[in-house]
């Protein structure tokens, strides 16, 4: 038993915590939870808690239906929204097979595997996501609570109270918040998490989504990470800032470069661009995700990069003098409803491929690419992101990179599951069709 585990047991005893929730994530990015009593914790550390893997999306395979959830003591946190009376805590788990092997389809394990590849090159992968979400009256009522806009201060309203409480909750769980503000669209908000290593950050994203929803529920409102709830307004993205560190050194930074971007940084960008279409399905995994990726709302539509261009798929943020550590690359495709473990995995894999194979970064897109004609764009070699889930899946199907990054099991399940989702969607008759065709045809 290590010190972390000892600390957990001591805290549980001191704070009289009766139940601990063991969290893990299914292949689609949904949080799963098994509650155990405080007396079971020690056993859980030693041997894990058994559960039926076939009950979890993406885990089932005959030979693996018996599985173990083994809590990671370093992720122990008391859940602030459960109050102090009978406090409840949580730990993230790693999933193991009965032989004690790390289970290959556990998203945490998928990310660990990819991080290991990075560390073989001497790199640690850091991530800082800007997560956007909407507040509504309820899950069945997407009416905005305001008509606010970017940086609007709407004092004393339920929403700024909400943001304050959400931030307090996150901080209480050891998740540092960098920044928060009202977003462009009415009722839309953004809370940015301070950068952390990718595994911690993926755990944080999972916690964040739950915490935000819990706080909203306490206040009688509803928070959603749906990528595009209202056609007329901006969607919710999860712009993901990434960087590679070699020890204390930011491998993306180069003083001598006009962009302050190192060769490694450029090749990483080149890798993500080259494989951007292949990894889109993982970063934008729902039918609705593609309603966000349309022109007119500053969401990325084309495969391009730039420094100032807000419509680029990859943006290199302005360098702040004397802050070499902050050199980074912003990948703007993911939305907050993705599975963060898998999304970080494929972004990293694409970037590393660029580094390892020495990809050349294409020229920066200076113009506003939306104003270019199709032929101009083609002449400039600028590709489009997949226009819908179907196209994204077709591209992904042919990607050895994604298969390798996710592992065959997750790769196959993901495609199969999403194919079913697309087929179900295809069979819908939408309000658009009724409104447009019924009067006319």
């Amino acid at each position: 038993m290590d010190k972390q585990q000892e600390y957990v047991l001591r805290t549980v005893e001191e704070r009289d915590i009766r139940f601990v929730r063991l969290w893990f994530t299914d292949v689609l990015g949904m949080l799963k939870s098994v509650a155990i009593t405080s007396s079971e914790i020690e056993g859980a550390f030693a041997e894990g808690i058994g559960f039926d893997g076939s009950a979890v999306d993406g885990f089932a395979r005959v030979q693996e239906s018996d599985m173990l959830a083994v809590p990671d003591a370093s992720t122990f946190q008391v859940l602030p929204w459960r109050g102090d009376d009978a406090p409840v805590a949580r730990m993230f788990c790693d999933i193991r097979t009965p032989e004690g092997e790390a289970f290959t389809a556990d998203p945490r394990q998928v990310l660990r595997r990819n991080l290991r590849k990075a560390s073989e090159l001497g790199y640690s992968f850091y991530v800082h996501p800007e997560m956007e979400f909407f507040l509504f009256n309820g899950p069945d009522d997407p009416t905005p609570l305001d008509h606010g806009g970017y940086f609007d201060l709407t004092p004393l309203d339920v929403q700024s109270d909400f943001r304050r409480e959400a931030i307090q909750t996150l901080e209480a769980m050891g998740i540092s918040v960098e920044y928060s503000h009202h977003e462009v669209a009415p009722s839309q908000h953004e809370i940015d998490l301070r950068y952390a290593d990718a595994l911690t950050m993926a755990d944080n994203v999972m916690t964040y989504r739950l915490a935000v929803k819990e706080v909203a529920m306490h206040r009688g409102i509803y928070a959603t990470f749906m990528p595009k709830p209202m056609a007329a307004y901006w969607g919710s993205g999860m712009h993901t800032h990434v960087s590679l560190f070699d020890g204390d050194t930011n491998a993306f930074y180069d003083d001598a470069d006009p962009y302050h971007l190192s060769e490694v940084g450029k090749r990483f960008i080149a890798g993500v661009l080259a494989h951007a279409r292949e990894i889109t399905a993982v970063c934008c995994q729902w039918v609705n995700s593609y309603k966000r990726l349309v022109p007119g709302f500053e969401a990325p539509v084309f495969v391009s990069w730039g420094r100032h261009n807000r419509s680029s798929l990859i943006r290199v943020p302005m360098y702040k003098p004397h802050k070499s550590a902050s050199a980074r690359v912003e990948f703007r495709a993911p939305d907050p409803a993705c599975n963060p473990y898998l999304a970080f995995s494929v972004i990293l894999a694409a970037g590393l491929r660029g580094i390892e194979q020495g990809y050349e970064v294409p020229p920066e897109a200076e113009d506003n690419i939306y104003e270019l004609t199709d032929t101009e764009r083609r002449a400039a070699g600028i590709d489009s992101l997949p226009r819908n889930l179907d196209e994204a899946l077709r591209v992904m199907e042919d990607s050895e990179l994604v298969a390798e990054a996710l592992g065959e099991h997750v790769f196959e399940f993901f495609l199969r599951n999403k194919r079913v989702e697309w087929d179900a969607y295809r069979a819908q008759v939408t309000p658009f069709e009724i409104e447009r065709y019924l009067p006319m045809l």
Binding site: E6, V62, Q63, E64, E99, T104, H409
Partner: protein, 972 residues
């Protein structure tokens, strides 16, 4: 002058190449007379020349005499001692030069120094020392000199020297603790590792833990001061590198704990290895009573009443970690400590046996390796002979290690590569040149020999006493003694040991071993000598328990064939191959039971080459020439087949044959059987037959489980009745199951009109059928046709007639469509009854043949391309998926990556199917469902255990790729 010059230069030369130093030395000793050595120098030169390194010894003597005055080296004995020590250790020579006290030690009686003497010496040195750390270091170095001198002069054995080194450390540690002590708190220092075991090296970390009673902060202060004092770097070096990281929580934990603190930790948190490390714990300094209480506290953790299964696992893991660690793999045999057959091997073996048996037998609990080994031998847990060899080997290797370290007092475990340096090492270990061999040659030979036998008996060490037990039991039975009074292992102990070594069910394994080795029969006696070599191989196999059962079954079956056991005895590699095979496949074990004469051929040379088709054919013909009855000859064919397939399987399971080679050899065997069967059935008939092999037989890619798909033609038409009878006879002679089993299952269903058609036709009738009635799939099947037996000319004629029909210059669209629809229907039928859509149902197992990306996908893809292109490109008309794929790739019809994906997938899938058949799977096309089975399969295929997931990942990746290419090339 010339007369005198010879003895002078001769004397000097004997003091090494540096005459200047030699002159200095003799001068300093007062043995120089004008321009030459004094007359009385000769005996002194003799003494110096006996040093392992004369040159160094000479220089050291010169320096000591210069430094301390010529009278410092007044006696010949002192010169001798200095020459021996300095010749081995440059570092200790420096100590002698720097400290008059060192010379005094060499001059003294060289009695061993007790712990308390060292401690008092430290106290004295510390009394008015300005630099206490330096004072302690000097005492420590002088102590090393004393031990080294005793060691090198033969006053102490290597083991004794190691114990004295530990005592030296205890004394210095005790004095250091005295110096920093605080009356407010009691502290005891617990020695761990080699210090605890009283088997310290000249240079090594000193592993300790601290226990205290009293104020925690005070204890922490004392311990920190203690570590500072000993670890401080001084001009003399530092006293000891004290390592306190074996303590609970390692670096993160508090340096010292109270007894209660340790108890709480070991009760709740300690990992198995942490508890096992306590095996070596021994109080070495500080409060004795507290130390003794710590020992008492530790005991139940090292020796729990019950050892859990997971502990045994951990012991085993420890073992495999050591065996596969990068250090071991990288370090060549020159690594005294870690190389296979090195010190670590011995220590590990002894510790494992202690941990398994020490729970019940307190006599085994010594922390000292050699003492524990002796106790193990005394208790009968280890064979006496093995224990002696191990003890000697340990002693030799530790001596080498000591001498290595003495040279510069560096922590090294590597025997030098350089011959000259190794020669000096050899001399310092006591080897002297003799007429037949230099010291170096003798050392190298001895070193290799020792490592060799440690390696060889290392694992047998575990098994021999298990078997001795049976010998003793049986004699005890005869004398009507109660069996458990016998010395050695109880049944329970033996079972525990087997479980620790990798057998899943130790009890059951013990029962099987008893069947094999118990009693006074010749068989049992032979097996008791053979099993120690076989069991380690079985234990490392994917299925140790099954392998052991297989061995018993083999031994039972071959009860009456003493040659079997004799072969194993006289030819040890045979046993290794046999155990390797048995630990993987019961099925092959059964084949070998029935073909015992194969067993003597299971050697490297015997298995090196595949048997080619011509040899199989010759052997089969030989059977016919015996002229026996049809029934007897057919049975002889069955035996031929079984022998052939068993040998192929052994080569396959021991990694000697690729999957193509396996397929090719099986096909050669089948061809021979068909040819002989046909000759047998058609004997004396005026009829010509030709046999076309179809499917995998035609393709030369048979698997173990394949049927033989054939089509037969005969001539002339007038002999139809006799011909059809003969064909039926052929099928019967090969396919009927008799007491000798079955040769091959011959399948005629691919013939024209299938089951409704006659079993054979004439050439013309066959031609007409293919020209006018054949279905598209029948023409497709013809892509695999090959003349495999009978009248070659007739067969070729048939092929030549049919080929243009199979490969028209342009494949008609309806044939293409028919083929695609048929494939799609096969897939749909396979899916029928399965749960469709999301989530994979329990019981849904990966289908290697018909599943998505399975073997059929490769075969159909290749055949479709052959049919499309074969009209124009005759070079692609060839049976066999891999061969045809190669031809298609050469033609550019399949691009490089697609071809590689198909071929790699085909090979892996075929290999997995073959392996599944050999391990006895009911349906070799379905991947097993249980994690245990999957892991065993993965291990048999060569994946590291536990490798079930890695294997499935690999397999599904190959299948996905095959599927992708198939969908593109077949349906588009």
């Amino acid at each position: 002058m010339t007369d005198a010059a010879t003895p002078t230069s001769g004397l000097l030369a004997r003091l090494g190449g540096d005459t200047r130093a030699a002159e200095d030395a003799l001068r300093a000793l007062g043995l120089w007379d004008g321009d030459r050595p004094a007359a009385e120098a000769a005996p002194v030169v003799d003494l110096i020349a006996a040093s392992p390194n004369v040159e160094r010894a000479t220089r050291a003597i010169a320096r000591v005499a210069e430094g301390h005055g010529p009278r410092a080296l007044s006696s010949h004995e002192l010169v001798r001692r200095l020459a021996v020590v300095a010749g081995t250790s440059e570092a200790l020579a420096d100590v002698c030069v720097a400290h008059p006290a060192a010379v005094a030690i060499l001059e003294g009686d060289l009695a061993p120094a007790e712990v308390d003497e060292v401690r008092r010496a430290c106290h004295t040195a510390l009394l008015d020392a300005e630099e206490p750390a330096r004072a302690l270091t000097v005492v420590q170095r002088l102590g090393l000199l004393r031990v080294a001198a005793r060691d090198l002069l033969g006053l102490a054995s290597t083991a004794t020297a190691a114990a004295e080194l530990a005592d030296l450390a205890s004394g210095v540690l005790a004095a250091a603790l005295d110096a920093v002590g605080d009356p407010a708190v009691r502290v005891a220092v617990i020695g761990m590792g080699k210090l605890g075991g009283r088997e310290l090296n000249y240079v090594s970390d000193v592993d300790v833990m601290f226990v205290h009673e009293g104020e925690h902060a005070a204890a922490a202060r004392v311990v920190e001061a203690f570590l500072r004092l000993l670890g401080e770097s001084t001009p003399e070096g530092r006293a000891y590198d004290v390592d306190a990281n074996l303590r609970p929580e390692g670096r993160d934990g508090p340096l010292s704990r109270t007894l209660e603190g340790y108890q709480a930790y070991y009760d709740r948190w300690a990992l198995t290895w942490e508890q096992q490390a306590l095996l070596k714990a021994r109080p070495v300094a500080g409060d004795e009573e507290l130390g003794a209480r710590f020992t008492a506290l530790a005991e139940p953790y090292v020796w729990p009443d019950r050892r859990q299964g997971s502990d045994v696992d951990e012991i085993q893991r420890m073992k495999s970690t050591v065996e596969s660690s990068a250090a071991v793999r990288k370090a060549g045999s020159r690594q005294v400590k870690l190389a296979p057959g090195g010190i670590r091997d011995i220590e590990f073996a002894v510790q494992l046996l202690q941990l398994v048996h020490g729970r019940h037998d307190p006599s085994l609990r010594s922390p000292t390796t050699l003492a524990a080994l002796e106790a193990l031998a005394e208790g009968g847990y280890v064979d006496d002979g093995d224990a002696n060899l191990f003890g000697d080997a340990y002693d030799f290797l530790r001596t080498v290690e000591h001498r290595l370290q003495l040279r510069k007092l560096w922590r090294t475990h590597v025997v030098p590569d350089d011959d000259a340096e190794r020669d000096r090492l050899a001399r310092s270990c006591g080897f002297r040149p003799i007429r037949a061999a230099t010291a170096l040659e003798q050392f190298d030979r001895e070193y290799t020999r020792v490592q060799g036998y440690v390696r060889r008996i290392h694992e047998q060490l575990f098994y021999r006493p298990l078997l001795d037990r049976f010998a003793e039991l049986s004699s005890a039975d005869q004398l009507a003694f109660a069996p458990d009074d016998a010395t050695g292992l109880s049944r329970e102990q033996a079972a525990a040991r087997l479980a620790a070594l990798g057998f899943a069910d130790g009890d059951r394994a013990m029962g099987v071993l008893a069947d094999l080795a118990e009693g006074v029969s010749r068989r049992a006696r032979l097996l008791r000598t053979l099993l120690p070599a076989l069991l380690p191989v079985l234990a490392a196999a994917p299925d140790p328990d099954g392998g052991l059962e297989g061995l018993r079954s083999l031994a039972d079956r071959l009860e009456g064939a003493p040659a079997f056991l004799r072969t194993l005895r006289d030819n040890p590699p045979v046993g290794e191959v046999l155990a390797t095979v048995l630990g993987r496949s019961r099925r092959v074990g059964e084949w070998l039971e029935r073909e015992p004469e194969l067993i003597s051929g299971l050697t490297d040379e015997g298995l090196a080459e595949p048997v080619d088709a011509a040899t199989h054919a010759r052997t089969a013909e030989g059977l016919l020439r015996r002229g026996e009855s049809v029934g007897r000859t057919a049975d002889a064919l069955r035996r031929l087949k079984r022998r052939g397939i068993a040998r192929i399987a052994v080569r396959d399971l021991t990694g000697r044959a690729s999957v193509e080679e396996v397929g090719g050899e099986l096909t050669g065997l089948a061809d021979a059987a068909l040819d002989a069967g046909l000759a047998l059935a058609g004997r004396d008939l005026p009829v010509r037959f030709a046999v076309l092999g179809m499917g995998k037989l035609g393709g030369g890619e048979l698997s173990y489980a394949s049927d033989l798909d054939v089509i037969l033609v005969f001539e002339p038409a007038e002999r139809r009745r006799e011909a059809l009878d003969a064909v039926t006879g052929l099928v019967k002679s090969l396919s009927d199951i008799t007491a000798e089993g079955q040769a091959f299952r011959v399948d005629l269903d691919l013939r024209p009109e299938g089951r409704d058609g006659p079993v054979a036709r004439t050439l013309e009738s066959t031609r007409i059928y293919y020209a006018e009635h054949a279905q598209p799939w029948e023409l497709q099947a013809m892509t695999q046709a090959r003349v495999v037996a009978g009248d070659q000319a007739l067969g070729e004629e048939l092929l030549a007639t049919v080929q243009p029909l199979v490969y028209p210059s342009r494949l008609p669209a309806e044939r293409l469509t028919a083929m695609r629809r048929m494939k799609a229907r096969v897939e749909a039928e396979r899916d029928k009854g399965r749960r469709r859509g999301l989530g994979v149902a329990r019981g849904d197992r990966l289908d290697l043949k018909l599943g998505l990306g399975g073997l059929a996908d490769v075969e159909w893809t290749v055949q479709l391309l052959q049919l499309r292109l074969g009209g124009e490109h005759p070079e692609v008309r060839r049976p066999g998926a891999l061969g045809a794929l190669g031809a298609l790739a050469a033609l550019g019809a399949v691009d490089g990556r697609d071809a590689a994906w198909l071929a790699d997938g085909y090979r892996l899938l075929a290999r997995v199917r073959n392996t599944l058949y050999l391990v006895g799977a009911r349906d070799p096309s379905l991947l097993p469902a249980g994690p245990g089975e999957l892991d065993r399969l993965a291990q048999t295929l060569g994946y590291d255990a536990p490798g079930g997931q890695d294997f499935v990942e690999d397999l599904t990746r190959h299948m996905r790729r095959v599927r992708k290419v198939h969908e593109r090339l077949f349906y588009d």
